[in-house]
């Protein structure tokens, strides 16, 4: 079953006080996330990640298109009962304690009184805030607020969890804990949709990722495939400070650094390249197939975006 689906979802803000100028935050976005998936939403600052999440939460109204969560319209109350949301840099009521805050959210989510108090205590323990349960939130640090935010997002046992940069502001231990938490949610069969800049987290956690840049979806891929697939290229490294003339004819990317030289060629050209090295009597040090990492995928998608006009012509 499809957990999250966006259909031509788009948002253009009007900025300025008098003469409103349009500012495109999200170009028509088509995306589907299966139930049980952990989905990473990647993109540089200002790419439109938060905008997408706000649209999905019904906090801003779309300029066009629609979205469905668990097959239902996102504005329906039934849907809202089944989702949890952690906004970026969350902030809560200053004068409530962590416990009271969770209590309030539990009430709003329609949880039964009996269920509430047990779950709240367990949840505070789980996000490492047991000692701070009776402290007013204005005395919380940034990371502690992030933890409270996580707690409220998953407190009512939602089926789909949306997290906007869940790792930001956390210490290394905290990040580790959040990773574990997401893993755990995955084990429980929940759908997790989270945005992040931290690619290693995405690589470690996600089933699939999407890359968005300048409001435009640049690519969606299965992490396993992206990182294991041979990119159809090989890398040769040899001793020597010069690149033989023949390599440019092969369309190779060449680099030299001191005593070593390096070239990346398509694997069909592998034999021809070796032949050139042999002819020049250069000593081959290594020959390895190139494995694409998520980072490369990300950079490729984002950079291709920087010069789309040039490429097209």
């Amino acid at each position: 079953m499809i957990a999250i689906e966006t259909i031509h979802l788009e948002k253009t803000y009007a900025v300025g006080f008098w003469r409103k100028k349009p500012r495109v935050a999200l170009r028509p976005l088509n995306l589907t996330v299966e139930e049980g998936e952990v989905f990473g939403f990647l993109g540089p600052n200002g790419a439109g990640k938060t905008t997408t999440l706000k649209l999905l939460m019904g906090l801003v109204s779309p300029t066009g298109g629609t979205a469905r969560i668990l097959g239902k319209n996102i504005y329906e109350a039934e849907v809202k009962a089944q989702i949890g949301f952690l906004p970026e840099q969350p902030y809560f009521y200053d004068y409530l304690t962590a416990k009271e805050l969770l209590e309030y959210y539990a009430q709003l989510s329609g949880m039964q009184p009996k269920e509430r108090s047990q779950k709240i205590d367990a949840m505070l323990e789980r996000v490492g805030l047991k000692d701070a349960a009776r402290l007013q939130l204005r005395k919380f640090s940034k990371g502690m607020l992030q933890r409270v935010g996580l707690a409220q997002a998953i407190l009512h046992d939602p089926k789909v969890v949306f997290l906007d940069e869940p790792m930001s502001g956390l210490d290394p231990m905290g990040r580790r804990e959040v990773r574990d938490l997401i893993e755990e949610l995955k084990q429980q069969g929940k759908t997790v949709f989270f945005s992040t800049h931290i690619l290693s987290d995405a690589e470690a956690l996600c089933d699939r990722v999407a890359v968005i840049h300048q409001g435009e979806l640049r690519g969606v891929g299965r992490v396993a495939e992206l990182t294991s697939s041979v990119a159809g290229k090989v890398e040769l490294i040899w001793n020597g400070s010069a690149v033989p003339a023949g390599f440019s004819a092969l369309g190779a990317e060449c680099y030299t650094s001191g005593e070593r030289a390096r070239a990346v060629v398509a694997d069909v050209q592998q034999e021809a390249a070796l032949e050139i090295l042999r002819r020049e009597r250069l000593r081959l040090i290594s020959l390895t197939p190139v494995r694409s990492s998520l980072e490369e995928y990300y950079l490729q998608k984002v950079n291709s975006a920087v010069k789309p006009a040039g490429v097209a012509q």
Binding site: L59, K80, F85, P87
Partner: protein, 257 residues
């Protein structure tokens, strides 16, 4: 519906913790100081002075508090983004607005109650006993509460579309203008043509605080007609409903920052 109650309760708790009720201390000091002073220097008119001063203070303290927390209600939640997590729950936007209104109304009611106790204590201090005409003071207090309800619905309305500071300015100006609402309506009746249409519309849209201020009458122990009480109550309810509906209509469409 229960969500409205939860939101109201939370609003009340936040407001109380935000030291809103500390104003009661200032109020108590002011009033007891005045009572002692008046008790010493003015003969015959102690009661008059205490009632006038006490009720005026109740009204002004209430107005300031209604505006300041009323404004914070929506725009502060929007600015600080506490709303995000609330609205991503099964909470409808109108429930949020209505809940906020009742939370604030409750805060104001409690606040006014304590101040009223202060007024009666001061009254007892200067005149040593209560008399039956003191009951009209309750009516004046009731009218003050109605005034505050209108004001807090307006604060809610303004803060659903403008910044906290602007909302405070709007709400306070309407309080001042509304205190002259009767004059405005008289004035509107004298104009002609297009001006008449505009003036009359404005005069009837401005909240009518003039009829809600009976402090002077009460201080002189004049009775207040039941007709006025009924009309004022109905009016305050109608006007607050109107402002809240406006707030709901705006807020339904509002994009959150």
């Amino acid at each position: 519906m229960s969500r409205v109650v939860y939101i109201a309760a939370n609003t009340f708790r936040e407001a109380v913790r935000d030291r809103v009720l500390y104003n009661l201390i200032a109020f108590a000091v002011l009033l007891s100081g005045a009572a002692i002073l008046v008790g010493q220097i003015s003969i015959d008119i102690e009661r008059l002075v205490v009632v006038n001063l006490g009720l005026t203070a109740v009204s002004l303290f209430g107005v300031v508090i209604a505006i300041f927390i009323g404004i914070g209600l929506v725009s502060k939640e929007m600015e600080k983004r506490t709303l995000y997590t609330v609205l991503s729950r099964p909470v409808r936007r109108w429930e949020f607005i209505v809940g906020k209104f009742f939370g604030l109304a409750g805060t104001l009611l409690v606040n006014t109650f304590f101040m009223a106790v202060g007024v009666f204590a001061a009254l007892l201090y200067v005149s040593h006993k209560f008399q039956s005409s003191d009951a009209w003071i309750l009516v004046a207090l009731f009218f003050i509460v109605l005034q505050l309800l209108i004001l807090c619905s307006l604060a809610l309305l303004f803060s659903s579309f403008s910044s906290p500071l602007l909302s405070a300015v709007f709400a306070f100006s309407l309080f001042v203008i509304g205190s002259f609402a009767e004059d405005l309506r008289l004035f509107a009746r004298m104009t002609r043509g297009l001006t008449h249409g505009l003036a009359a519309t404005a005069a009837y849209l401005v909240p009518n605080f003039s009829a809600l201020n009976v402090i002077g009458q009460v201080a002189h122990e004049q009775p207040i007609s039941w007709h006025l009480i009924a009309c004022n109550t109905a009016y305050a309810l109608a006007y607050s409903t109107m402002a809240i509906c406006g707030a709901v209509l705006i807020f339904e469409r509002r994009n959150l920052k």
